[in-house]
């Protein structure tokens, strides 16, 4: 009995020492205790697939084909250009409403804010890490830029900025442009843009020299 207990105890100790406890950090791939059909010979996205010569399970569309529902037509909403020309469309070719604006704000926060900053002044956090020349949307050149040209810049990138066409769907690109326009407007607005019942409150809140000039108080040139 004594020997049995000794061997029994040592076995348990050995198993515990070798196997460790739950949650231990391990570099080895997880053990699959009953592997039955855990891994099937089917292709999953973004995995290795030796069946194809390039070894990728996720396939690109065959050259000369378009996927159902993909944007292939030469329409302003897809290209930002007037059909058949290389001229930019001046105004967003989708309906701008509050929903689109909200969507634009959300998507701007996800994709643009790190570089262009919450205010759109090009002072995003990446500037601290060595990125340069992030566009300031309040620059008069960009205020005047056609919506189609901004669309093109988002889709294909511009100067040091990479293309975002793969990450941001078309509808969201226009939503972001609508929001960028709102950001620009926030620094170009006049007192006349403020609803009448809020103007007095705003006048009172203005810094001392402002009350003298009546209507267009802060229009930067």
């Amino acid at each position: 009995m004594r020997y049995f207990l000794l061997i029994f105890g040592l076995t348990i100790l050995g198993v515990m020492l070798i196997a460790g406890k739950r949650g231990d950090i391990s570099r080895r791939p997880p053990l699959e205790v009953f592997p039955d059909m855990d891994r099937m010979p089917k292709l999953r996205p973004q995995t290795r697939a030796d069946f194809f010569t390039d070894g990728m399970s996720s396939r690109l569309p065959v050259a000369g084909t378009v996927a159902r529902g993909s944007a292939w037509q030469d329409a302003p909403v897809n290209t930002g250009k007037q059909p058949g020309t290389t001229n930019w469309v001046e105004v967003i070719p989708v309906a701008v409403n509050e929903q689109l604006m909200k969507r634009g704000q959300e998507r701007y926060t996800v994709y643009c804010l790190v570089c262009h900053g919450a205010a759109g002044d090009g002072k995003g956090i990446t500037g601290k890490y060595g990125m340069v020349a992030m566009a300031n949307f309040h620059d008069p050149r960009l205020v005047k830029m056609a919506d189609g040209e901004i669309f093109n810049a988002i889709t294909f990138g511009k100067n040091l900025m990479g293309p975002y066409g793969g990450q941001i769907p078309i509808e969201d690109r226009w939503a972001i442009i609508a929001y960028v326009r709102a950001l620009q407007r926030s620094r170009l607005a006049t007192l006349d843009d403020v609803p009448a019942d809020h103007r007095d409150a705003l006048r009172r809140a203005m810094p001392p020299p402002a009350p003298a000039t009546n209507a267009p108080a802060a229009r930067p040139q």
Partner: protein
Amino acid sequence: MANIFPRWSNRLPLLVIIGLFLVGTAAIAGIWYYFTPKYTRVGYQPVQPVPFSHAVHVDQIGLDCRYCHSAVEKSWYSNIPTASTCMNCHNQVLKDDPRLAAIRESAATGIPVPWVQVHKVPDYVYFNHSVHVNRGISCVHCHGEINKMDEVYHAKPLSMTFCLDCHRNPAPNLRPPEKVTDLAWNPHQHLPKDWGEKAKKDWKVNASQNCSACHR
């Protein structure tokens, strides 16, 4: 006639029973403790081809999950970003750093970086990311505090019980959709107690417990 069996053999049946009991208990305890994803999967931290730190990119810089995992709201699969996504910043930041050599090479050649998948359910489980993140289930719920990880490790078991626990009672795990990718946000701190129940009703959250919900 002398005794054929020695005296101690009287105790033998008892010893055998005790011995079998001990071995049986140890075996059951061992299977209970080890034969579960809580042991087999949790803690898995593979060596990645590039030591990408979520802690730096999410916690420190404040990138949204969707900046890289851009298809998570539309697809069942949460995509790993292409190297060109990395190059949006790393064409300027750390642009000659040797740690990023594999990224630059991939961006130049188009051959993907061989990232090692950490979270992996069995192939007969059909998990859909989009339906979860669009209904207020945060990334943090299944992936743990990725935003604090320098190297990603498997934090939650992702076992069948893990799924079912939430499918049986989803209310406490719901949060407003705009906070889904905000991993540091603590719903219990900010939401009233019955918020989850109300959201479950308003959004008509009907987390199926049917076999065919996941096994198709």
